[in-house]
Each structure stands twice: as C-alpha cells, then as structure tokens.
Symmetry: C2
Subunit: 378 residues, 2 copies
C-alpha cells in the first residue's frame, strides 16, 4: 500500500476502524509473495519463508501458492500449528533443546509431517534430539553456522565436527544454515552480512562434503536467511533462503533498502487521542502503544514507527497505549479523532500482539479478518 | 520469590517446565497485594490497582480481597472483560476518543457496572463522550492532568476550564487524575515525579473546587498513579492511587527502588540453548526472546532483564526467541539445557505475550495455570 505519505489513501477506509487495528493489505501480500518467489526461481534457489512474521495459515498458503517450498518456523508451537493445517515440510530454524516435554511435542509434530528438520549447534543438543525420537527413522538436523551475527551457531570450520557427532548419534544431517542477523545493524551492514552468509556457508558446506555429507539424492541443503540479505545472498552454494519480513515489509526494511514504502503490506491504524501537551514543536498522541507496535527499535533508528500521514513526525516516546509523536516545526497538529497509519519498526512483533488482523484489498476493508493462528505458540 | 541470585531455588522446580514459561508465585502476589493495600489504608488513600499489568481475573480478585476498591484499566476491551467477571467499579484511565464504534462498546460496558469513569483531557473528547451515552444518566469523567510526564493531560491551571466544558456538555466531572510517568526516567526522578503528582493535583483540585466541583457526597476524586510514586505520593489531597506493576515487580522497579528482589512475583523460566559463540567474556543464549520478555528498556538501563542465577550476566541482545547473555569475565558458561530465571525489565508486557502463566506456591508449581484473560483486549 502507499505508506510513503506522498498520497493519502481515502480517509474513510481507515476512519471507521476500531483502533488500534492491525491492517493487512492482501493485494500487497500477494505481490510480495510472488516477487520474492520469482526472484528465487530466477536464481535457482528454493524459498522456505519464515512464517513467524505473520503466524497465519492463509498467508502461508499464499506463499505456497506463489511457489514457496516448505516453511520455516522458530518454535515447536508454530511447527505444530502449521503441521495441523497441512503444511508438511517444516524446518525449525532454532537450536532446539529437546527436554523431555519438548521431545514429546517434537515426536507429535513429526508424525504429522512429511519432512521435519531441526536446527542444531552442539553435540549436546544433538544427543538430546537423537534421544527424543527413539526407534523411528532418523530425525533430520541442519547444523547452524554463525556467519557473523554472533548469536548461535558454530564457526564454519567446526561444522563438519558437529555434523559428524550428530550423524554418529543417528541423526540425518541434511545440511547447514545460517542467519546473517548482522544485516540488521544498519544500511551499510546489509551487503556485508549477505557476503558473510555466502562465505560462511561455502566454507561449512565444503567441509561437510569433504566429510562425506550430502551424497544422497537431495544433496546438501545450504540455507541462508533474512529479508535484508535474501536479495543479495541467493547464489551458489546457497540452495535455500528463509526470509520472513518480506511478506509485510516494515520501517526497518525500508530504511535498510530491502523494500519500498509501496511494498509495505501491514500498518497499524490508530486514532489521535490527545494534543493537550505542547512545548518544543507540535506534539500529538496516538492510541497505538508498545502493546501493539512493540518496543523493537534497532540502535541506529530513531523513533518507534513511521506515521504515514505525518512523515515529519517522530514517535519519540512509546508507552503501552500511547505513542507520543513530535514534529519539530510549529505544525498544526492533526485533528483529534483522526485515524492515522503507522508502519511499525519491526513487523514480526505486531501480529503476535493481536487476536486478528483487518483485511484490506484495493485500499478498502473487505470485512474479513485474519486470525493470528500461531499467536503465542512457543 | 528470591530473585536476587543470593540463594538458588531448588533447580527441579523450574527444570521440568516447558520453556519459555511465565511463572507467577501467588504467595508473593498475595503479599504484594496486602502490603500495598495496608500502606494505602495507613495513609487514608483508596487503592484502585491498574489491572493491565496482569490482565487476569483471579489476581484482580486477590487485589480486591486485600482491600482494593475498584480497578483501573487502560482500554475499553479490558473494561469489558473485567466487567463481565463482576468488577463493577471501573476507571478507564485513558483519554478515550468515543468514535461511533467505541461509543457502542462504552455503552455496553456501562450497562454492566455500578460505576464507570473515563479519562478526558479536551473539550473535543468530552463532546464525543457526551454524545456517546445518549439519554442515560451522566457519564462520569476524570480530567487528566499532565504532572510533568508530558504525554497526555492538561496543565493543572487548565483543569477547571475543561471540567466546566465537560459539565456543560452534561458529563459528571468526578475529579482529576495524573500519571507521573517521569518517575520511570531514572532512580533520581522517582521522588521528583511523586512531588509533581501531588503538586499538580493540588493545584488542579483547588481550581475545580473553586469552580464548584466536588460538592457532592463523595467529594472530589484526586487520583495519582504509578508504582514508583505510589509509596511517595499517597497523601493529601490525593484520595486514590492507581499502581499496577507493584503486584509483580520487575527489574526496573527494583532498580528504581520501588521494590526488592524478594518482592518480585513473576519470572520467565528459560532454557540455555546455545553456548557455541564465544568471544569477549562468556556468552550463552536463552530461549526467552522479545516475544516473551518484550523489548521494553528504559534509556538509563542496560540489558534486557536480570538473569537470577547469573546476576553478573548482561542480556546484551534480544531477538524474538534468543536472549544473548554475556559475562564480561571468563566464566564457565551454564550447562546447556539448564533452566534459568529472568526477571523482565518491564513486567506489564510479559503476561500479554502468553496464553497463560504457570502458578507457583511455596517455590514449587501447583499444577495450575492462570489464563491471561484480557490478553490483546484493546
């Protein structure tokens, strides 16, 4: 939708909403799903979108229809939810620790799907995973590589060692994966993180192949993933990308250069509830706070979202139900009761904060709502 | 519960949990409820706790049993939920804009409760509220005063003007309220914000009385409210306090001096899932990320929570499902799979992120769960 502030959408489309409301334009969602799938096809890379962003079955189906092969999830709870809705190729891109309770849940998910893989970055975690699945066919694992994000994953040079340990424990080592999360650390980091993903995976995959892995029919899965890097890292030896945010876009992605304002598919509709406090510049308060927008904010980014109709405003302070916006010039404040749109800093948090999302098509509400099916599923 | 890290709770009490899990010790909740109520009674001030912190009917009943009179909510959705569960004295401490859809919802809540008051900080909002309730008895409003937080509310000197406008529109002006939110801006601000609350309310209440308000049997309600200031501002002319966080406590409150570690009643139980990335000091990763802890962090506070068993660790980076913790010394990392406890920075976000909370008593799980009844109710 048009979220740059250049053109205003018809006011009435938003002014009837019960705010704060999370609004998703499914036309834009479909466009984003198709564009990413087409790009991956042109690169010969599989697309396995991360569904933690939307947590919604219908949108995952749109992604599948556009050409995604399988889904990525962060939690066992998400895996179980999507498995129950027929998604039968699931990768839990997380270093799951298979405690007794998680082992039971993992076994349940496994029975429902055709293909399940789990992230692993240590021999100890591999031992728990191997113990979790008993006498069934081997559980597939993907060895996590740290490509510079310094969160989880082993060094590329240690990948073959962990892979060997996992294989010796009876696990099916399917490949390697990484998340170049340092691509979020600023616009100039995006290209670097993409290089780091490809470089680290090249090294790790080479060592795994030297160690005898990936000789089966499917070969080695080499999986990179994040929206900022997806456009830049989709090349050999990468065989799969796992972007999530691209389906909606958000303020961070626009400022990182990963999408344009017109590709933003989700906004929070919010009402101007107070203009009573004034001082330096012009202040107004919206009824969208951290309980809908979340407090996510990269260190390099000022403010807590982009106000579409007032792009000159900064959301300076975010409380649970108040967004305090300031325009540094002496502007006329918006009229009390006006419904404005905010593009969140980080969209992955936003659907998770609401029961459902309001559907728009062609710039107007369709009357439908999308339930956040996997909300709060850990 | 003991969250200072001095003594460890029995490991087994937490090690069986499916993490991340939000754990509430109801013994500590009851102690906190009684302590705040006793303090308010000793000051001759009514306690109207803000239930947005827990969003749970059972805990609101514990507060009522301890002596709270009525509840405070932030949203119409919370008001409706608690009204449906028999809470019949509700204050929506928010400058509600009564759009047509909100007006209908407001009328529904009104029919269910004995007493309902709504915040108001402008003549325009008063006009909407007056129009919302049609021919029924006058809707009660509380005029919001800005006591220095500079979020919403009018200057104390403007209170009587807005009160007069509201009364002329047919509303029942019950009193004035403020939230000294600037008490959250650092330990040294807490006392100042408490003085500001009392000072601003004194001025505003005086002007309202001069204007003829508060001559009814109940007198003028003069309401202050926040956990950091509640212990310091509960004095004349304040007649009512609205703290919320005190029921659980959190890391911010401990560091502001509003509660002790032993008064913290809510922790997030979380598993060590990765120790693979090392570098400066010792790093470990927990499975509690921003989707349970939230990213809330005051500017003066480093890190994203307090790790009870490793108080020397800083949660440096918070992702949706990873908390990256660092100890600057060369410590032995925790053993993979260990369940640790994190005291969140800001507890009001945490229950809202989960379907239910695990109940502890006497340091062990009771087997019960508390549903987050008003989760996502806007």
């Amino acid at each position: 939708m048009n979220t740059s502030g250049d053109r205003l959408e018809p006011e009435t489309a938003y002014s009837q909403l019960d705010t704060p409301a999370v609004v998703v334009d499914l036309d834009v969602v479909e466009r984003n799903a198709r564009a990413m799938a087409a790009w991956m096809t042109s690169r010969g890379v599989s697309l396995r979108p991360h569904v933690k962003t939307h947590k919604n079955v219908e949108i995952a189906r749109i992604q599948a229809a556009a050409g995604a092969s399988g889904i990525t999830v962060a939690t066992l709870g998400e895996a179980a939810l999507f498995a129950a809705h027929g998604f039968d190729d699931v990768f839990i891109a997380y270093p799951l620790w298979a405690s007794p309770v998680k082992a039971r849940r993992l076994a349940e998910v496994r029975e429902q799907v055709r293909s399940l893989a789990v992230g692993c970055d240590s021999a100890a975690a591999a031992r728990m995973l191997a113990g979790a699945v008993g006498g069934q066919s081997p559980l597939a694992v993907m060895i996590e590589i740290d490509s510079g994000g310094r969160r989880s994953g082993v060094r590329p040079t240690a990948a073959a060692t962990v892979a060997r340990q996992a294989a010796d424990l009876g696990l099916d080592v399917r490949g390697v994966f990484t998340h170049g999360g340092h691509g979020y650390r600023g616009p100039e980091e995006r290209q670097r993180a993409a290089f780091d993903e490809v470089g680290s995976l090249t090294r790790a995959a080479g060592l795994l192949r030297d160690g005898g892995f990936g000789r089966g029919p499917g070969g080695l899965v080499v999986s990179a993933g994040s929206t900022p890097t997806a456009a830049l890292s989709a090349r050999a030896p990468v065989t799969e990308e796992r972007p999530g945010v691209y389906i909606f876009g958000d303020r961070t992605q626009v400022l990182l250069g990963s999408c344009s304002w017109d590709e933003v598919a989700l906004v929070v509709a919010t009402t101007v509830v107070s203009v009573s406090v004034q001082g330096l510049g012009t202040q107004f308060v919206l009824d969208a706070g951290s309980k809908v927008l979340s407090s996510d904010r990269p260190a390099w980014l000022r403010g807590h979202g982009h106000v579409v109709e007032y792009p000159q405003a900064e959301i300076e302070q975010l409380y649970e139900h108040h967004a305090v916006c300031r325009m540094s010039g002496e502007y006329e404040p918006p009229v009390l009761g006006t419904v404005l749109r905010v593009v969140p800093n980080h969209v992955c948090q936003v659907p998770n904060n609401v029961d459902d999302m309001v559907v728009f098509r062609a710039g107007t509400p369709t009357g439908e709502r999308l339930r956040v099916d996997a909300r709060g599923r850990f």
